[in-house]
């Protein structure tokens, strides 16, 4: 840690450089039998059976889970789940022919948003797409049909160092055009916009629908801030944001009947080296790292996602889910334990807060469990910048996340 340059790192920039995807087909995948709301589903297939891509493998009517990869079920066992569960039931599958597209369900035809959603739900997709955590789309398992006046398809990566979204947008330009039409119908949206980093928006002129140019500073590409940017440009009505991956997945299901089998990951090692990989859903995180030639050491953090918002994993056997965009190793030295000294009111957090909150005040309330008094807790977008810059090493974002959960529970 140098002494002089420290203060300059306060601004984090998103990357959008070109780095083509390399496909990695793992010899074995783990397919977790977990539903849209984290519920464990009972398998309806047996060990030794060969399943075709898209067949229902678990759950019951109304809450079915489809496996997007065809292959032989080697075993039904347990594996860790990315949200931190120690062991959930999984199908251990040996994939067969994963490169070819196989229509698993009937393509859906309707110009009515409600009807399309009904078909999507009937096909048992809420669980299959649960990895795409977007507030525009979820909870859609509850029976409501997501609608939007303006639908923003975000091709901008959320976290620092990730390029999966922007690279996917680059590589699927033509398909994106068709996908935009499909999701426009699905959401009943009057207007479609592509949110893209300003630096590379020239590359996407061909999209034609006009783009929403985003600053390359973290966290401008978070859903809530994209909505703000859209509204500031005069967008009226309900604005929803979905990722480019979700748009392509929905398009592939609705127009072709093919379930999304691949997750696009930006894999980053402990030295900051990056590589874009296209891996089968269910691939073990450890296998991905090994394929990329990247290692980790004891005390490192292995994250699904990027360093600012990623979920730390305790086991490299944890499978990758659909909709994930990164796999990052952060060296242990980057992050000593929080020592939580008192706030010195320096204002660094409120200076960087993209939601213009007062993290120093909220932090003082949350530190002593007075969550109700931290009135603006709801407006926090949990980008973690306050915690990143805090010179007293206070776990601000962690307190806010906990406070929100506790408040939600007490309601």
């Amino acid at each position: 840690m140098g002494w002089f340059g420290e203060q300059k790192k306060r601004t984090l920039y998103l990357s959008c450089e070109k780095s083509a995807f390399e496909t990695y087909l793992a010899g074995e995948i783990l397919f977790p039998l977990v539903g849209a709301q984290g519920e464990i589903l009972a398998p309806v297939v047996d060990k030794g059976e060969t399943v075709k891509a898209g067949v229902v493998v678990a759950g019951e009517e109304g809450c079915e889970l489809r496996c997007p990869v065809s292959g032989k079920i080697e075993d039904i066992g347990g594996a860790p789940y990315p949200t931190g569960l120690r062991s959930v039931p999984v199908l251990r599958i040996k994939p067969e022919d994963p490169e070819t597209d196989e229509a698993a369900i009937d393509p859906m035809e309707s110009s009515d948003s409600g009807e399309l959603w009904d078909q999507v739900r009937k096909a048992g997709l809420p669980a299959t797409l649960a990895g795409f955590t977007t507030d525009a789309c979820f909870p859609w398992a509850d029976g409501s049909n997501p609608q939007a006046d303006i639908l923003v398809i975000s091709g901008a990566d959320i976290d620092v160092g990730l390029t999966a979204r922007v690279q996917r947008s680059r590589e699927s330009l033509d398909e994106l055009h068709a996908a935009a039409e499909t999701v426009k119908k699905l959401f009943g949206a009057g207007l479609i916009r592509f949110a893209l980093p300003k630096k590379v928006s020239d590359e996407f002129k061909a999209l034609g629908t006009g783009s929403l140019e985003l600053d390359e500073r973290y966290p401008t590409s978070m859903d809530r801030l994209i909505k703000t940017a859209m509204a500031n440009q005069g967008g009226e009505g309900k604005i929803s944001v979905i990722s480019v991956h979700l748009a392509l997945a929905l398009h592939s299901i609705i127009a072709k009947g093919v379930l999304p089998r691949f997750a696009d990951l930006t894999v980053g090692d402990r030295n900051g080296k990056k590589k874009n990989l296209r891996v089968l859903v269910g691939t073990r995180a450890g296998d991905v790292l090994q394929h990329a030639g990247m290692a980790y050491e004891s005390g490192d953090r292995l994250l699904f996602g990027g360093p600012m918002t990623g979920l730390a994993q305790f086991d490299p056997d944890t499978p990758v889910l659909a909709g994930m965009d990164g796999l990052t190793v952060v060296p242990g030295a980057e992050h000593d334990e929080f020592r939580s000294r008192p706030c010195v009111n320096c204002g660094a957090c409120t200076d960087v807060c993209p939601a213009r909150l007062q993290p120093q005040e909220m932090g003082r309330y949350c530190e002593y469990g007075r969550y109700e008094e931290a009135a603006t807790l709801d407006y926090c977008i949990e980008c973690g910048l306050c915690t990143y810059v805090c010179p007293s090493y206070r776990p601000l974002k962690q307190w806010f996340t906990m406070g929100k959960k506790i408040l939600a529970k007490s309601e």
């Binding site: 002494w3 203060q7 994993q313 008192p342 009111n345 204002g347 200076d351 603006t376 407006y379 990143y388």
Partner: protein, 285 residues
């Protein structure tokens, strides 16, 4: 081969790195030129005062933290910085027991009783200094008014150099010093026009006493200054204006401590001036 063990924890998993400890030591480093100038001008006695102030500060802090059953952070640099600032405020002729007493008061009464770093309401060094000043005005403010930190214009230059160093490397906030500067210059200019005979030019206002020390080091103390941008500007402006107002209408030779303390008093109030959270402006649901 044993498996590598991963560590888990909630995001974010990165940190910008600069801590309060570094910023305290940086401020001490920035004051080294001023201390050197002081030692050249006032001889070994200045060094003795410095040594006594720093050692007392650290020891008393460690002792109080021990008594208050707090983790001991006496070497986090803040007690050392307090000792350095305290030294610069003392007259060279100050009795040594008074240095010990003043520093002990500053650490115990003005800092630790409030809860230590981050919790005190007023700059502890100034409280310690003012307790001595109001109790023994003759000894603390002898005729001539010279202090260890203000021997000649060279002291001012040295403090300015240190302050600019902190500003350039962003160890201190720039809004407060800038607004402070504007406040002193503007109000100093106005007073010079009103009382051209008795009040000096605005530059003289800045060069006299501890105005520059207050500008870069005393007013920018994080704990006692506001966190919001507009509030910081107002805070700096108010202290800057107070410097000249107290100098013109007050009875004290040294005005910077009073101005900064009055600013500290307003700081929590000023911090109520907050921007509206983005999500509250429009409903983006």
């Amino acid at each position: 081969m044993a498996k590598n063990i991963l560590r888990v924890g909630p995001s974010p998993h990165l940190r910008a790195g600069a801590g309060t400890v570094q910023s305290h030591y940086m401020a001490v480093v920035a004051l080294v030129p001023a201390l050197l100038v002081a030692m050249v001008q006032h001889g070994p006695r200045a060094f003795l005062v410095l040594l006594l102030a720093v050692v007392t500060g650290v020891l008393v802090e460690a002792l109080t933290q021990h008594i208050f059953k707090q983790p001991i952070y006496a070497l986090d640099g803040h007690a050392i910085l307090m000792g350095v600032l305290f030294t610069l405020l003392m007259p060279p002729s100050v009795p040594l027991y008074m240095v010990v007493l003043g520093m002990a008061l500053a650490v115990v009464v003005a800092k630790q009783i409030f809860g230590g770093l981050g919790c005190y309401a007023f700059h502890p060094v100034l409280i310690g200094y003012l307790m001595l000043l109001l109790s023994w005005p003759r000894m603390l403010a002898p005729i001539g008014g010279e202090t260890i930190g203000t021997g000649s214009e060279w002291s001012v230059y040295a403090v300015t150099a240190g302050g600019l160093f902190l500003l350039v490397f962003r160890w201190i906030n720039w809004r407060i010093p800038l607004a402070f500067f504007v406040g002193v210059m503007a109000s100093g200019g106005i007073f010079h026009v009103i009382y051209p005979e008795t009040v000096g030019t605005c530059l003289e206002q800045l060069m006299t006493g501890h105005a520059v020390l207050a500008l870069f080091f005393l007013s920018t103390d994080n704990t006692t200054s506001p966190a919001n941008k507009l509030a910081q500007v107002l805070y700096g402006l108010i202290i800057g204006v107070l410097i000249t107002v107290i100098r013109v209408y007050g009875i004290w030779m040294e005005v910077a401590p009073f101005a900064v303390l009055l600013g500290n008093l307003l700081s929590p109030l000023l911090d109520r001036i907050q921007p509206k959270p983005i999500a509250m402006e429009k409903n983006y649901a």
